[in-house]
Amino acid sequence: MGLKKTLYNFCKTNHIEDLNCILHITLLNCIANLSKKQKFVNISPKVIDGFSGIGEELAFDLLNELSNENTLIKKYYIFKCPDDGYETSGSINDNEIDDYHNIQIEACYRCHQEHQYDIDLDKTYEIGFSANREKTIEELKLTNNDIIKEMVVINTNPEHIDKIANILISKLKLQPEKKEEVKIGMIKYLHSIKNFSGLIADITGDAATTTGNIKQIAEDLSGFSSIKEFFNSEP
């Protein structure tokens, strides 16, 4: 099943339909907005929760659901060395496991031996998720229709505007003490809606694109001098 459809179904099942758009943008932002542009990126429930506020547990369930329904998001297990319950022995993608009662880690990172794990008996493993960056961005890409739909939902709740502002701020290279001030200006702007669709459409762009867009917006509008000054002062 497609990621958008799975996300929609998940939100519906968990009665968080109004967060569908925020989670969509959060996922896109997590996958795209990393300084380390590797082929596969790690997606953490903690980060999803940080931007959406759905709670780490529900964020984990969401990623689990996405990985069950689509191969672009992979669930993986991290196992611990039996000789030391804290040190990582190795990790393996869920789709590479043939037998959950005999999972082989051929070369333990700690003791360099081979270990076998049984998912029912070994309770010390951790679960993580990773996404194929380019393909996932492509599949989650926001269409004009998505943006129109999401803008309508976003405007029904001031908290959503705040979350979107946080996501956009996270993409900008700002000094920590200036972030709150820029965020206030941005929220004012997001409420005004003009050019909002452009900002959201570029959510997967790099910091320079976002900075450029926001700077342009600041120049276009009167009353947002604080944002304008920050970007004008950038080297």
């Binding site: 380390k36 596969f40 790690n42 990582t88 393996i92 076998q116």
Partner: protein, 285 residues
Amino acid sequence: MYKTEISKRLNKADYTRLPRLLELQGTFDNITSIEDSKKMLQIADINGSKYMEIYKLKEDVDISNIIQELNALSYHPNLPYIEGQGALTITKVYFHQSDFEILADFYTFDEVWIKSDDGRNQTLTPLHQRRVLHIKYNHNRQKLILTIDPIGDGVKISEDILRYIPEIFNQYNIIFFEYFELATIDNAIYTMIDNEVLRPTRLKSTDEGSNRVYDTLAQNPNDSLTDEVTFTDTRQNTLNINRMRLKHDELNISVELFSDDLLKVWSRANMEQNDGLKENIIQLL
């Protein structure tokens, strides 16, 4: 006895297809002929998890001097272990024109993880372990590939190899290092990383100036450490490599570079995986 040894070396999916590969009658489980079992063990001996070094033929040496000293020997593994008879033994010698191949085995006494019958616990148990050393020279490429079963961990195996090589070649009055020199393979490995053939997943390096050790581990099995500063510094020799674990995604095996000339194949690599990796490296040397 032979089947147990084979199953230690290869994954089940690989050793059970050996009879078909060798055109033997019957399946792996119902083969009873010792000769057929030996044929299968010979393949298992040269595959699986290995340390690997590659040697280059020196200039202005005549390889025929080595070939004429060798005596052909058909494969006869030293199995089972008999107390006091675990020293290095040459188990096969083969040569054709200017190519040659030598197999040898010996026993070590090590502690290995053994799973309890109910599968709930693993304990370290001392056992005599059969080890195989394989040497194969290809004159077209003028490269000799030496592989040896893992003994311990890390670069110490290089010292062991330096001891084993004379033990083998002295028997034929050949001074090995007059003909061959160890090839550095780190540049070939970095080229394979650039070409996305290999993906670094763990890197441990030392800054000799500050004596700090940097150890970075990618817990996400799909991650790559190529964007780490320590990776760049190690590649540029600003940091000294201790070990770099790498994943070969196409062959689905893990390997580890310990220095500029010693590689370990961690996975119980089958025939295709082993040959594929060697071919990848040799092409770039």
